[in-house]
């Protein structure tokens, strides 16, 4: 028996184990993060589309706590979270968006289709801010207090049950 012939079996077993594990896992996670209580890094992002302002660190300082939402028009879970962001906006939360590796037409397209909950959208064309604040994927949402500190990180799409949780975290960040 040649060892090379075992490779497909090994790969398959790895996948089967992973998939089996994932099937037993509950789908909801609220992950505690290393980023809590650290200040936002300095950044200046160009507007992600015409007619809307871009985003800088200064936009987070002063006033009420805000949400920083990292998303992209090519990201499918972002479609799923769009209505919940809209609800947060209706609750009076200011949401600043960062569009990762995106094109202005695609951003415009996405917003016209799924709604625009953002007050400003910065374009992060090389995942620069994404890396600096330690986001590992799209979408992620951060609660930023009025002093510009990261208070809470939500990984993955915002779901119906995440909305009250985020509102609570925003209240705590006051």
């Amino acid at each position: 028996m040649r060892l090379a012939y075992l490779i497909p079996l090994g790969l398959f077993l790895f996948f089967a184990g992973l998939a089996g594990y994932m099937l037993t896992q509950p789908k909801e996670q609220n992950v505690p993060s290393q980023m809590i209580e650290q200040p936002l890094p300095d950044f200046t992002l160009e507007p992600a589309l015409e007619g809307m302002p871009g985003a800088t660190k200064a936009d987070f300082v002063g006033g009420e706590p805000r949400l920083l939402n990292i998303w992209a028009s090519w990201c499918l879970p972002c479609i799923a979270e769009a209505p919940h962001l809209e609800r947060l906006k209706q609750e009076g939360v200011e949401i600043i968006g960062v569009a990762v590796r995106d094109r202005p037409e695609a951003v415009e397209d996405f917003l016209s289709r799924y709604g625009n909950p953002y007050s400003r959208i910065g374009a992060d064309d090389i995942s620069e801010l994404m890396l600096e604040i330690g986001a590992s994927g799209v979408p992620e949402t951060y609660v930023i207090d009025a002093a510009g500190n990261i208070r809470y990180q939500h990984i993955g799409d915002i779901r119906e049950e995440t909305v009250p949780l985020l509102l609570e975290k925003l209240e705590e960040a006051r």
């Binding site: 028996m1 992973l18 099937l23 992209a72 499918l76 879970p77 397209d109 994927g137």
Partner: protein, 665 residues
């Protein structure tokens, strides 16, 4: 009665699958047991019963039998008749029943008609086929019974997802299923050959029509699905790298590789283990797709009936079949001699190279599809999109297209590259000329530009194998290859043009306003409410004119279905030879300065976009021509053999029964 008959037919089919499996296994022993005879008839009767079960469910949907739970939850008496029928497979249980019916039908065909392989290999194949079928019967009967009754019949059904109320649904899923199931036959054959160590050119010839057939259906299904998503979703795109789309692409990639490697095995007796591996891989990919789609482990725009329990069941089957197959492969593969040798610059060499490239693309797609699953295990949710798939896939697709242009010109076994230097130089000149001209004309991304140049070179190269040959004596199968390769070029041309030259305009317009996209003038005439059998909509009347020509009326709609309630967008298209105008009406955008209501109107001009699907159809057609060609040759050979046998018998009689020495081959 219908439901009970259907369920009984299913149970009987499952019992026959057990018989087929046991009888097939008995046929493997030395001095085969007399009970080994039952495998073939079991497969044939099973085919009849499983097909009957499917038609019974079809009938229940046709008459909207609301005492059956599946009909009540997925159909509605007010639905147009054609969608009542297609609704049969527009849900989890019904689609699984369709799957199993096609599986049994192909098992029946194989058991009833195929006589070219050694009987032992056939027994092993039918055993594996019965084993695979049994798992799916268990899945269907135990966890997704389509014939479940409601204790109290429903007064009215709850309807079918409106996105699925489209002629696309009549075509897209059944063709894909037939393709997936065809790959299961290829899998059974591969396992049968591996178990009995009969990986021979004869086996490859038996396997080839199944692979070709499955591949034709997959090609057609993916093409239809892509076009359906394109006009039905109203997003203006034709491929989204969504997990469910990838789930259909991966078996296609594996089947494409298998198709070419099985041809090498049939013609040259090389690539034995590789062909077996691909046979396992192709079916693994279709089962993996089923698992990903129905277990809900990944987020997708395709909302299937998601159920982790069913997911666990499918994963169990996956472990049993694929895990089992890979164990047998690991144990047996080294006992199969590698087959005939060849050099790198030969047709086999080119085919192997492209096999590897196809497998690499498959690995890229598989990794991108499963990566979110992997990171999620570490509590990180990510989405992998076109920024990964396009460049990563292109790294392997570009060399593949180049070799695909040149490979068919090479000779089998060994060839000198110098012999085709004129053709190679000509193709290179085409690529360079197009890249240079287009790059001068405008600023385009590198991938579409290369795609465009390669597509033209490929289109020319597709016909080069015919050069210097008597056109009338070219084998039918070669025409199939020419057509399919030309189809790839056409499709690639469409993709490149669509991504490089598309113009898009999103405008808020009031009735009477015009907007411009490419050389089209688009005028919104009016927006009115309209009603259909089970929906209401606002319909825009749009006049679109190209240059100075007479305007054409377009009527895109924003529909609201009321059962179940869901909005959908009906795009309107004008198709020209050189592209398509695609219009979608959106929401109201408030009132303008004159107090007139404005509407979001989105218009695209997509040059040559239709070539993507024409190319897909050509590829499928090429496959069909190849099957016809192979069958012709096979029939001719059978006839010649029968004639030879008859003649020998006559001679035997003349010689008074003395046997003549067998002529050496």
């Amino acid at each position: 009665m219908i439901a009970e008959l259907g369920l009984a037919a299913l149970w009987l089919s499952a019992a026959l699958a057990v018989l087929q499996m046991v009888s097939g296994a008995l046929g493997l022993r030395d001095g085969a047991s007399p009970h080994a005879l039952y495998a073939r008839p079991a497969a044939v009767v099973q085919a009849f019963l499983a097909t009957l079960a499917f038609f019974l469910l079809l009938y229940a949907f046709a008459v909207t039998d609301l005492s059956i739970k599946l009909v009540a939850t997925n159909s509605h008496s007010a639905k147009p008749f054609i969608y009542k029928l297609t609704g049969t497979w527009g849900n989890h249980e019904g689609s699984m029943l369709l799957w199993i019916a096609v599986l049994a039908l192909s098992g029946g065909l194989l058991g009833g008609l195929e006589r070219r392989m050694p009987e032992k290999t056939m027994s092993a194949t039918l055993m594996v086929q019965g084993f695979v079928a049994l798992g799916f019967y268990a899945f269907l009967i135990l966890s997704s019974n389509p014939f479940e009754r409601l204790r109290v019949p429903a007064v009215e059904g709850s309807g079918l997802n409106p996105l699925l109320q489209d002629i696309g649904l009549a075509i897209h899923p059944p063709t894909l299923y037939i393709g997936y199931v065809g790959l299961s036959v290829a899998f059974s054959l591969a396992m049968g050959a591996l178990i009995t160590r009969q990986v021979t050119p004869d086996f490859a010839k038996v396997m080839r029509p199944w692979v070709l057939g499955a591949w034709v259906f997959l090609t057609f299904g993916i093409t239809a699905g892509s076009y359906w998503a394109y006009y039905e979703l109203g997003w203006g795109g034709w491929w989204f790298w969504d997990p469910v789309e990838n789930a259909s692409l991966m078996p296609w990639l594996a089947a494409t590789a298998l198709l070419h490697s099985v041809s090498v095995l049939a013609a040259r007796d090389a690539l034995r283990t590789w062909t077996i591996m691909l046979g396992v891989l192709a079916f693994s990919m279709s089962m993996l797709g089923t698992f990903l789609v129905r277990s809900g482990v990944l987020t997708s725009v395709h909302a299937f009936a998601v159920d982790p329990e069913r997911g666990a069941f499918i994963l169990g089957l996956l472990g049993l079949y694929i895990g089992g197959a890979l164990v047998i492969f690991a144990m047996r593969a080294s006992s199969i001699a590698e087959g005939k040798r060849f050099t790198a610059t030969s047709r086999e060499g080119a085919l192997v190279f492209n096999n590897v490239m196809l497998s690499a693309i498959l690995a890229i797609v598989l990794l991108g599809t499963l990566y979110p699953l992997l990171t999620e295990a570490f509590d990180v949710r990510v989405s992998v999109g076109p920024p990964y798939f396009n460049p990563a896939g292109a790294i392997f697709a570009i060399p593949m297209f180049i070799v695909m242009a040149i490979g068919p010109l090479l000779r089998w076994k060994d060839d000198k590259p110098g012999r085709i230097q004129f053709e190679a130089a000509m193709l290179a000149a085409i690529v360079i000329a197009i890249v240079a001209v287009v790059a001068v004309l405008g600023d385009y991304a590198i991938l579409p530009l290369l795609g465009l140049a390669l597509s033209v070179a490929l289109a020319v190269a597709a016909f080069l194998p015919l050069r210097g040959r008597n056109i009338r004596r070219v084998p039918t199968a070669t025409w199939g290859m020419v057509l399919a390769h030309f189809g790839v070029a056409v499709s690639l041309f469409g993709m490149a043009c669509e991504s490089a030259f598309t113009s898009e305009r999103l405008a808020a317009v009031a009735p009477g306003d015009t907007t411009q996209v490419a050389d089209w003038t688009v005028k919104l005439e009016s927006v009115d409410p309209v009603a259909g059998p089970n929906w209401t909509a606002i319909e825009a009347r749009v006049l679109a004119a190209r240059g100075d020509e007479e305007p054409t009326v377009l009527t895109p709609q924003a529909r609201n279905f009321w059962s179940p309630p869901q909005p959908t967008s009906e795009s309107a298209l004008i198709t020209r030879l050189d592209g398509q105008l695609y219009a979608v009406i959106g929401d109201s955008a408030g009132v303008d300065a004159n107090g007139k209501e404005r509407w979001q109107l989105r218009v695209w001009w997509k040059p040559f976009v239709t070539f993507i699907w024409y190319g897909g159809l050509l590829i499928a057609l090429g496959g069909i021509v190849s099957i016809v060609g192979r069958l012709q040759v096979d029939l001719k050979r059978r006839k010649a053999k029968a004639l030879g046998d008859a003649r020998r018998d006559d001679l035997d009689e003349l010689n008074g029964g003395d046997t003549l020495p067998e002529p050496a081959e």
